[in-house]
């Protein structure tokens, strides 16, 4: 066990855990931030996507010991009130079915659009390829991303 001082959603957080603990479980079990989802634990589904210094990152294989002072943003920190343009687009396009994957999809899309406000079709597909939606909402996810990039 070791103490880690983390910067999560702009707030300092102190956790005392095994350094190998993936950030996913630190968020969910220690910090009670359950918006970040568990889907596979092996970086295959994207449900656990967070931003690490603004970069979309799979938190299920990210040991807490590797984070240091890097800024972590989770879905709860994107905008608590759902005012981020990507969240708004998701509501507008009625994207979600079960909704379980959508936190990860939104985090991946937000990271993409932050770096590239007008992504091409192919850039969207590349950025989103690590995020599975078992309900099959891809068509609307893409529409929602495009609608943000148009504004």
């Amino acid at each position: 066990m070791a103490v880690f001082n983390l910067n999560v959603n702009g707030t300092k957080q102190k956790v005392d855990v095994d350094g190998a603990t993936p950030m996913l479980w630190v968020l969910r079990d220690q910090l009670k931030l359950t918006g970040t989802k568990y889907g596979c634990g092996i970086a295959q589904c994207g449900a656990c996507t967070i931003h690490l210094n603004g970069v979309a990152t799979r938190s299920c294989i990210l040991p807490v010991s590797s984070i240091g002072s890097k800024a972590i943003t989770t879905i709860e920190g994107l905008s608590e009130l759902g005012e981020h343009p990507v969240q708004k687009a998701w509501i507008e396009h009625n994207v979600a079915q079960c909704g379980y994957c959508q936190n990860g999809q939104i985090m991946a899309a937000a990271a993409l659009l932050k770096n590239n406000s007008k992504p091409s079709e192919e850039q969207i597909e590349t950025a989103m390829k690590g995020n599975i939606c078992r309900c099959g909402t891809y068509v609307r996810i893409k529409e929602a991303i495009k609608s943000v990039s148009r504004t």
């Binding site: 998701w90 979600a96 079915q97 079960c98 379980y100 597909e125 390829k129």
Partner: protein, 778 residues
Amino acid sequence: MEKQDALHSRRSFLKSSLLSGGGLMISFSALAEFLPSKKLAGPGMPDQWFELTGYIKITPDNVIKILNPNPEFGQNVMTSLPMIVAEELEADWKKVVVEMGPHDSVKLGSQFTGGSNSVRMYWKPLRDAGAAARVMLTEAAAQTWNVPAAEITAKSGMLYHEKSGKSGTYGEFASKAAAIPVPKGVKLKEVKSFNVVGSSQKNVEGLKIVTGKPLFGLDYYKEGMKIAMIHHPPAFGMKLKSFDASEASKMPGITDVFSLKLYEDGFEQAGFDTRTFNDILVVVGKTTWDVMNARKKLSVQWEPIADTKETIRGFRGKQEVVVPAGLETTESQYAKMQERAKEPATVLRKDGDPETAFKNAATIIERTYTAPFLAHNTMEPMNFFADVTDEKALVVGPQQAPGWSEPTLAKLIGLPAEKIEIQMTRMGGGFGRRAYAHYMFEAALISKKIKAPVKLIYSREDDMTYGIYRPMYIATYRAALDANKNLIGFHVKGGGIPEHAIHANRFPAGAVDNYLAEGWELPSNITIGAFRAPRSNFNAAAEQSFLDELAEAMGKDPIDFRLELLKRAKENPVGKNNEYSADRYAAVLELVKEKSGWNKTENKKYNRGVAAYFCHNSYAAHVVDMVKRDGQPYVERVYSAIDCGIVINPESAKNMVMGAVVDGIGNSFYGGLTLKDGAPEQNNLNRYRIIRMREAPQIVDVSFVENGIDPTGLGEPPFPPVFGAVANAVYKTTGKRVYNQPYFNSTISEKFGVAEKNTKQQGDKKLPQPKIKKGRTP
């Protein structure tokens, strides 16, 4: 589905009551979660709710709350079902607050999500409830204003008496209305005057979803709660022999390691109490990571099972079933199925004289189709929270059938049903998987044993290898054509592990004079079950590919050929028990033909495949437009035509069809689970391929037949025919027919399938070769 019918009639029991006192009041913060706008969440929140029927609660200041009875797993019932109530209630939908109802089969009906049944089963009861409440409110206003009720009109949560100029909100009359007996047989609105039903409304939980609120079972938290994971045998056909937990118990955070038996010997299981692994190991600890690590330190011995007898009381009454011992392997399962297929089978339906028709045939076309097990892989793995004490139990989590699981849970933990509270969380996918409740039972037994609240979590590996899969199937279709290429006989013989997929009374039964359907089954210890219409999603692939091949052999357009058969089934049906309506079936084909521009030249650049199917009371047809992209078949565009009767919420209904199309493409291209010596060979998403964005179509164009028929269900029907339409488009794209699911997963279909055999069938020589179009890159 007798069970649902029984519950359905109980549900018509509507009750009104005045709610007062803490027990029935909703706390301020809980309510604030559901309020449509933040304004309402200010001080002076309503503390009094008046209940009008089990589904509606109204406060004096006119906050209208509608309870959703059915668990939500992405089909959007949380929005659509309350919309039905709001329609008849004449509530202003924008101001309605929606809340997930408690588990209460007396007030809220069967509460079963599955079988494409939610809207279909609740359509009438919810309309009745909304209409009854409106009448009660009107009556209360009539008494207060001392005017005839018939002169009062209700609109948008308000009551008006035009003559006197009086008006008031529902809230003003709620307390009086709640004391009025619930009227029966209230006249319902005309379909043409609907304004909520049929309008596109946003998901009522949309904001919570995009802000990451703890909606799901896996997110549930209770102070003092522990985390448990189970360790099940590595293979079907194995059970726990012994274990050594000395190392695992010493791991940080670990509090308990023990073995657990789910059902005692002789336990009478209900129909959905599927027994996959009965003896499991349980590791309990403080955090998920602690438990995951400790599991690695377990030392466990497993041993083969003997033949096991199970007593099951399902829809067909009490049955003794013997689950065979053995470690099954996919390759030998395919071989066994092909062997068994040669033996006689049970005749499921026979019309005319199929033997003679085949004897006299000028051409016989025979094709065999196969499909492997499929794992559901709901995005949220199985999990459940349980807090079981000697006095009562609280269980919280994702469950499609709380009404079915409760009696078994009660027996297992030794508490009467009234001491058990089941809370239904939003489910991260279901697809039939959560109609089974073993993980709820396991969680409850663990909590009972450790005397503490606990959340049981399945890892993805646990979830995929402790499956209740879509069965393995095989079917051989045969058609007899006379010298003029008329279809004179049709024969399907299908089997599966452990059940066959044949729906003997569905199309093309009823359309062919000489018809024979047969089925056989091979017992197995692999557990199988509901999977978004498991039998239909195989049939719609096999039968619809076969019809495509027939149309080609007969020189007919595939849509016209189906329409011809349907015309026959309508005008002069063969046999009596045809399950489908030929009219509705034909209508989706006509609609998809029109919408897809089936015969238009500009669409000729696509390799088009069509299929249609009827299941779960509804009809669906798709045209799949395939191209070659980077040398690989890719579905670029899909047209879907659906008849599910009245559509409650078109935007969300379209979403579900789009999802079914993507799911169908994904599973038909890649889906499959294989076994080696009883052990699933895929245990996570690196080995089990699920469709991703790049493989999904650019466009899914969805149209609904508008016929004003009461809703008939939508969750399953659009899914099966995707398989057939994809298969037919693959043929146009590659020149090769595909017979074995999945179509593009070489580790399964090419290894085990029966393609070789099909290419050697008689009749092939007469088939024209398709014109292969050059691939284009979009």
